[in-house]
Symmetry: C2
Subunit: 411 residues, 2 copies
């Protein structure tokens, strides 16, 4: 059996070689929790081995983040520093690759004044919006991965001792990213090929509508725009490097027609919104827009999310994930979108990926709007998949086809 160090090294190598696929002469940015120093160091080493020109860390820390929210005045959250945008853009323009390591305690900000969080989220979104295109349009290689932290692990495994919880969370991360296998990179090649087949099938069909139904009460119709593209794990950056933006990933996804969503949908897992959990959500859509919503837990954070901008009430992503995915079969609620979204069919509020429309990255904002591509400061996934989810696809000519049966692909 592989020991922890070997799996961690596999992981670092996988993220560098398949995740962002570092090219010679390319700078690499890593947003890394201080607690995950060991992983960050290994990634830097692997990146330099692949010829990276520089590896730049953006270190963050839950305890310091919380301290600031607790102690700094509200006004200080209303301005987001421009230099952070300038820093990111500096490396984006040098074709830099970006790695984000997510590991935060999902309940970290529970006791924090929601006004501060909201002010911070809005200020950040406004400053960072102009540079979202670098990743949303796949101009640069980017990859989001997880790292087990004490704070996160205690939420996922509240009954275990802290060290055991961290160990178990690492095991889950290694399992879902295939880093506990002999040849993780080979395993990913195979996995990506399977998902590509699903995406190809969906793209050839060009469904006009998807009808969702399950026993939670979901009864939703989503219209897909003409020339939509279902994407799977792999993307290609402007310099022609293939990368995988999420690890793990089990989803094929596209965009909805902005005004073509109608009906009701229920969430099937909690959503971690900027350090706070929202659970038991219900949304009613009319012509694309949420006209009614509620949550059993965290309603105020949902209010906040929808108050960022008008288009945050429209969908930007439609993702298909088999209920029997490896992540789902672990039967762990990670309370972290990267993992939970890959255990479940999901949707996202807010900005759509222009890459999901044929030729979409070459269109202006106005042209995208016209074609029903939603734009917003937010992009928030929420999970809707269940073991009895049914999705019927309807073709342009009215023909219907069973796409998902009992939570899984029926194709």
């Amino acid at each position: 059996m592989m020991n922890f160090e070997q799996k961690l090294e596999n992981y670092a190598e996988l993220v560098i070689k398949k995740g962002v696929n570092v090219q010679k002469g390319q700078p690499v940015m890593i947003a890394c929790p201080i607690e995950s120093y060991e992983l960050g160091y290994l990634m830097a080493k692997k990146a330099y081995d692949c010829g990276a020109s520089d590896v730049v860390f953006n270190w963050y820390d839950d305890a310091l983040g919380l301290l600031r929210y607790e102690k700094a005045p509200l006004e200080s959250f209303q301005e987001f520093p421009e230099w952070i945008k300038i820093r990111q853009e500096y490396y984006f323009k040098k074709n830099g690759a970006v790695i984000s390591i997510t590991s935060s305690d999902p309940t970290l900000l529970e006791s924090v004044d929601p006004e501060k969080i909201q002010a911070s989220n809005i200020a950040q979104s406004k400053v960072m919006k102009p540079i979202m295109k670098y990743t949303m349009n796949d101009m640069n290689a980017w990859c989001v991965v997880g790292a087990a932290s004490k704070g996160w692990a205690k939420c996922v495994f509240p009954d275990l001792e802290p060290e055991e919880a961290v160990e178990k969370l690492w095991d889950a991360i290694f399992y879902t990213t295939r880093c506990d296998q002999e040849d993780p990179i080979g395993a990913w090649d195979e996995h990506v090929a399977t998902m590509d087949r699903h995406a190809r099938f969906l793209n050839e069909k060009q469904f006009k509508y998807l009808h969702y139904k399950n026993s939670l009460g979901t009864d939703l119709t989503i219209e897909l725009p003409k020339n939509h593209k279902f994407l799977s794990a792999g993307s290609t950056s402007d310099i022609g490097a293939e990368f995988i933006a999420n690890m793990p990933t089990e989803e094929v996804f596209t965009l909805p027609k902005k005004d073509g969503v109608n009906g009701v949908v229920y969430s099937s897992k909690p959503l971690n919104y900027g350090g706070n959990l929202i659970d038991g959500m219900r949304f009613v859509f009319r012509d694309g827009k949420v006209v009614e919503y509620s949550a059993e837990k965290g309603q105020q954070y949902l209010d906040q999310m929808f108050s960022v901008d008008e288009n945050g009430k429209y969908l930007g992503e439609v993702a298909l994930v088999p209920y029997d995915s490896p992540i789902s079969n672990l039967d762990i609620v990670f309370m972290n979108t990267l993992f939970d979204e890959n255990a479940s069919c999901h949707l996202a509020f807010g900005k759509a990926y222009p890459t999901c429309l044929e030729g979409g990255t070459r269109l202006t904002d106005e042209e995208l709007e016209e074609k029903g591509v939603n734009d917003s400061l937010i992009h928030e996934d929420f999970m809707i998949g269940t073991e009895d989810l049914s999705i019927i696809g309807e073709l342009e000519n009215g023909e219907k086809l069973e796409l998902f049966k009992d939570g899984n692909f029926a194709i």
Copy 2:
């Protein structure tokens, strides 16, 4: 006896309250080694308690710094990112306070290609030069302090076990910063008052020349410009907050007349130049400029230092430190300028502090040049004090006065 945690908390509080003297609404930047996370966290907490609007960390790490030097190509060191200047200036303009925690292994870069180090130093100096004024002119509060790291401690105490070495280095840091005393802040008030008395005496005398002699062979005459000011520990920022730029500090210092240095001087301790040690230095000056130099160890780094720019061969600082200072009496060679310079009379090559000239911060670059204030991309201290150092001060009218005898103030 106080335990480590208490002393560390004293230290964090001292740096925040006396070091940079954080004011309400002020942002605080901390350059902090990841290894010193605990100290950084305590400083952040104390800073917020004093009303800081934000505490922004610039985390660094010896191992990652070394990895980059070992693996990244030379070209990548020839460009220093502009965003780093923009980040600093963003907080300087908000009257931010700046804390630098120094802790690096002084021999870290021994095996690194000197060309890379040189390229990096020059690129950094050029980009950062326009914002040196914020600290060099005391516009913003700034403070440099030390933190014991494994890498540094093993160099200072090579015969001790790693943990013991770190502990002993911390003890030395706490001792020299008075943080092992019951009332560190009170102790600093007293200490600053003593140094202020020395500075006042020197400023009233307005010596025209200082003649240095000792048994190493030093025989040097330094001319001081008209209206020079000897400064001691305390400074005042533009927003009127008193701060202490170095902790520990035992020096009173001023600037030399750029073209008024003649004779020969020998170093008395090694100099840590950007991660490399230079030892056994000898410099011959004529009309302010070094016309001959040598080092028993690290000659190539000395060559590098002098190749940055022409004015790097002229002096920018003259500092008086009693040989019997608390730091000196520890009889430890710290191989770290912050500590070693405060155990010994020293000089610095390169840029002079305009604050050391009456009205100097209001002068243009040309006016400063005219008055003999040196300007350079570098500012490098080197130690010259010995137990038999004699300094004779000569007044404008030719009268001579014994200023230092057997290494200590004779006044």
